[in-house]
């Protein structure tokens, strides 16, 4: 009996998407409601990683001829090789955008860590509730 597996594929991809959205919501919760500064930074990096994963997910494609899609790298430099890559490869634009986003995320995280250090030397605590109380 022939079983149509495309509905199972769609279901599994949808599970991935819903899990990422849940991850997104959890990290937003962490950014807003966790009182500790380092935990806020961790939640922020989780947020950016989830956004990057969703971007990569948008550029993904279904399996071609029963094999997974390949990376967008041309190994056989003939015309047939190039057309084969076009037929099998994932979208190359989201990885390029994610590369930019990762670098900028890393830079801002680095800056936030230094800022946290200065906060700690000023207030002797990184608890945001305490810092709000000790304002000034």
């Amino acid at each position: 009996m022939q079983v149509d597996i495309s509905i199972i594929n769609t279901y599994l991809l949808m599970v991935t998407l819903v899990a990422m959205i849940a991850n997104f919501v959890l990290s937003l919760y962490g950014v807003f409601f966790k009182p500790h500064y380092i935990k806020k930074i961790i939640a922020l990096s989780m947020l950016s990683d989830t956004a990057n994963t969703i971007t990569l997910y948008i550029g993904y494609r279904r399996w071609v001829d029963g094999v997974p899609p390949t990376i967008p790298v041309i190994t056989n430099r003939s015309i047939e090789g190039i057309y084969d890559v076009v037929r099998r490869s994932v979208d190359p634009l989201p990885p390029a955008l994610v590369l930019t986003a990762v670098v900028i995320g890393l830079a801002t995280t680095l800056f936030l860590v230094y800022l946290g250090y200065i906060l700690y030397t000023h207030y002797k605590t990184l608890d945001m509730r305490e810092i709000k109380r000790l304002k000034g």
């Binding site: 550029g59 790298v73 634009l93 990885p95």
Partner: protein
């Protein structure tokens, strides 16, 4: 619940509803990729139907440094400004000269020996990722981030003293980083300047010769694919990134050891 929590919750729900509304056709990956992706894949190495090509076999690096080169230049600028902000925040909190740590400090002899053996391998892998960025997955940023593991390992396993004693102070690394960024800037405008001097049409960020602009970087050298401008950008970007990460590690640990 306080009012602010309710507002945040409602805005999250409404925002995701908007996101899913706008992107409903991409919720599940399709059988085929979009026309833009096909254009990138077709023109990145060879041009069966188009006049212009990037001359590299790796699409992602070609997009990052050639198709969207200006975007990546500003990304590098953001990284530079963030690092400058870090050093401004840390200003006056550390001295660059550090008294030598007492001999025998650091981790055990097994860990030290393994680090000494693996150090050249890390550098080799990083350089290979960076300089083959136009041929295989990788590129300047990835290679630089790989190489930046080594200073971190040395700091953890040996202590800061070997790095500082060999002259890797934050100010010197900042000079190296500035030189690498200057290289990126020069490579991106040099063809336009030459074109201005000679009176030939040339573009900023031009990689390979175009039909209306005959100047260009070499596509191949001795049979090895160069990818035009990509090789130079990968080289300078990897140097800039490894210097940046090393500055950040050393500066924050110098502050910490002073306290």
């Amino acid at each position: 619940m306080r009012a602010v929590e309710i507002v945040v919750l409602i805005s999250i729900i409404l925002g995701f509803a908007l996101l899913l509304t706008l992107g409903y056709q991409y919720l599940v990956p399709a059988d085929d990729i979009r026309a833009l992706a096909k254009f990138y894949l077709l023109t990145t190495y060879f041009n069966p139907n188009y006049t212009y090509t990037a001359g590299a076999t790796e699409s992602v690096t070609a997009i990052v440094w050639d198709y969207r080169g200006l975007d990546t230049l500003f990304e590098t600028t953001v990284f530079y400004i963030a690092l400058a902000g870090c050093l401004i925040l840390a200003r006056g909190l550390y001295k660059e000269e550090k008294e030598a740590s007492k001999p025998g400090s650091g981790l055990s002899v097994i860990v030290r020996s393994v680090t000494k053996i693996t150090a050249p391998m890390i550098i080799a892998v990083g350089v290979s990722i960076a300089l083959h960025g136009h041929l295989t997955p990788g590129g300047g940023f990835q290679g630089g981030a790989t190489m930046a593991v080594l200073p971190l390992l040395i700091i953890v396993i040996f202590s800061l003293t070997p790095l500082i004693k060999r002259g890797f102070t934050p100010s010197r690394l900042a000079i190296i980083r500035g030189l690498a960024l200057t290289g990126i800037g020069l490579v991106s405008i040099i063809l336009a300047v030459i074109g201005l001097v000679l009176g030939i049409n040339a573009y900023v960020f031009q990689s390979l010769p175009k039909p209306d602009a005959p100047l260009g970087f070499p596509s191949e050298v001795e049979g090895a694919l160069m990818g035009g401008i990509l090789w130079f950008f990968n080289l300078f970007e990897s140097i800039a990134v490894v210097a940046a990460f090393t500055i950040a590690f050393i500066a924050i640990l110098l502050i910490e050891s002073k306290r």
